[in-house]
């Protein structure tokens, strides 16, 4: 497959830079620094050391024995990004971007967050580097993911509640972009997913690609073969791009992305742009998006704050169109059931986001063949979701 993205930051027709003129120069600057950093041995060594000693990489590849027994079909493995420092894959990207910020001499960091995992991962690296950190978070999410807010504040970050629109990730992202436009000269915007204007979808994917690289290496070493299928949840889609990237050219490995169907695709309350949206422009890139006939973005819904977003990264749109990745969806309820089942069977409490990937496996186990080897990306841990789970029990 050709190099993605092309020179203009396009994945097929998707991607690009749909941003106010004020930030164009900064995107150019970021792109050129990133190109240099990629070739720079010192940068690579520093990044790898942080991966090893700060995050705790490589993350384990775990054989889920009891889930495998329960399914009575495929062999299931988890790529344990939940074991990372701060409890999710998000830290891979924030470590990479903060190193870029350091090289660029920018010491004021901003970020948006939905589930709070990206905010937490950003607050964490800012504390480590002594940089100022401002995290924009929708007020709705602030309540849903309270433990993460408390952790961010403990780490010295300023968490700014966003009261506009749906008060979730979409509006937090708009607010972070407004801050960036305003403080463009001294501020580095650490975007948390494979979304936004070029070069973000590319560089976030690259920093997350360690997930797939390790999975491939460890699976080969241990089982002397590659997995048959890889399943990952998709909101913006960074954990999915991270684990998929190393396998894109392995045509025998089937890749499955799972969107959030919320209350169901037949309702308007979902967060499934690939299933129910059309190509449009939001937050700097051209990609699938859920909007009405006048182009107004429709408020998404998912029980999982990290998937509660009306758009998706441009590379996913491309991989969807060329059919390299198959995109499916599961509902809130199916995700909740998977959350509980996997907690009890494996002693691992998955994040509600990751529970979507698990639910796809569990909800219709007959579609998988015996002796298939399936890796699920366990993108994060579920402690942060206990509030939502308890509320749903009531």
């Amino acid at each position: 497959m050709v190099k993605r993205p092309d020179k203009k930051g396009r994945f097929g027709p998707y991607g690009g830079r749909y941003v106010p003129e004020t930030v164009i120069a900064s995107l150019d600057e970021l792109e050129s620094f990133y190109k240099k950093a990629k070739r720079d041995k010192k940068f690579k060594t520093e990044l790898n050391n942080f991966f090893r000693d700060f995050i705790g990489r490589p993350s384990p590849l775990y054989f889920a024995e009891r889930l495998t027994e329960y399914l009575d079909g495929p062999k299931v493995y988890f790529k344990r990004e939940d074991c990372n420092h701060t409890g999710a894959h998000k830290i891979n990207n924030t470590v990479g971007q903060i190193l870029l910020a350091k090289y660029m001499g920018k010491k004021r960091i901003i970020a948006e967050t939905g589930a709070g995992q990206h905010g937490l991962a950003t607050a964490t690296v800012c504390a480590r580097f002594g940089f100022e950190c401002i995290v924009y978070m929708g007020e709705e999410d602030l309540h849903r993911q309270k433990p993460n807010v408390e952790k961010m504040e403990l780490l010295g970050a300023k968490v700014v509640p966003v009261l506009s629109g749906s008060r979730t990730l979409k509006d937090a992202t708009s607010e972070a972009l407004r801050d960036w436009v305003t403080n463009i000269r001294d501020t580095f915007y650490i975007i948390g997913s494979v979304v936004g204007p070029h070069p973000y979808p590319m560089l976030v994917r690259d920093f997350q690609s360690v997930i797939g690289i390790e999975t491939k290496r460890d699976f080969k070493k241990r089982y002397n073969r590659l997995p048959d299928k890889i399943i990952a949840c998709v909101g913006g889609g960074s954990n999915a791009m991270g684990i998929f990237d190393a396998f894109i050219n392995e045509n025998n490995v089937k890749l499955i992305g799972v969107e959030a169907a919320g209350h169901g695709l037949h309702t308007k309350q979902h967060a499934a742009p690939l299933a129910k949206g059309k190509p449009g422009v939001l937050h700097g890139s051209f990609s699938y998006l859920v909007f009405d006939k006048d182009g107004q973005v429709i408020l998404p819904h998912s029980i999982s704050a990290g998937l509660d977003y009306p758009g998706i990264g441009p590379e996913h749109s491309y991989l969807h169109d060329i059919k390299r990745v198959k995109y499916e969806s599961v509902t809130d309820k199916q995700a909740l059931d998977a959350f509980k089942l996997v907690s009890k069977l494996e002693g691992i409490i998955p994040a509600l986001e990751s529970s979507h990937a698990l639910a796809y496996l569990i909800k219709d186990k007959k579609k998988f063949k015996k002796n298939e080897h399936i890796v699920v990306c366990m993108s994060g841990r579920g402690d942060k979701d206990l509030g939502i789970i308890l509320k749903n029990e009531k």
Partner: protein, 263 residues
Amino acid sequence: MKNRITTYLDSLGKKKLLVPYFTAGFPTMGMTLQYIKAAECAGCDFVEIGIPFSDPLADGPEIQYASKVALDNKTTLNQIFELTQKVRKHSEIPLLFMGYYNPFLAVGVKKFLQKTADSKVDGLIIPDLPIDESTEIRNLADKQNISMTYLVAPTTEKKRIQTINNLTTGFVYAVTVTGVTGSGKKFSPETDKYLKMLQKSLNHRFVAGFGVSSPADAKRLAKYSDGVVIGSKLIKIIREAKTQKSSVTDIEKFLTGVRKSLS
């Protein structure tokens, strides 16, 4: 290109441009029509009609608020096209649409421009569509005789300013400060320096905007530019008016004051 904007600019002479912005459908579509009439009475040169969008990421709190009210009122694109046709019944004032790109995509860029031309609108400003992404819309706009106004920002590189200048058909919009609309940042000697640089670099007329909130601001910026755009301040005036009816006179009074400061 010959349309109401370019014709007007050709005969402008030394007069400074005063360009107000109103969000269509805020607080109602009927009121928007009255504000446009008031603006013309106050001696404004062009009017920018804001197409409300659910996620106005280049806008500050005032225009965010106005967009939300307009959308809560179920303002549709068709109503906005009807609005401009109503303006045209009694006025030839050059009109521009200012709106984010997604509504253009939703309708289809070609169809949107056809409707823009049919409703006698003369120009477009799309804040999230920089030159690099706008080839398709520019070509279609050319065919429909619709002017493209691009933005330059204090961060725009010199070489890029030239490209923007070359692609503009109509006038250039100079963002005066790094920030969102209605930013409230103070204009500094840097702003003057930047505007003076633009005067040298651009062959087109250019207006300064983002954060212009008084006749004094307008006068200051117009010293080194061809005029000003005022948006957030007008939304604020409308919000603070005692009644909807009095908001029309408040708008006219304010714009008349700005007009005086520019002469």
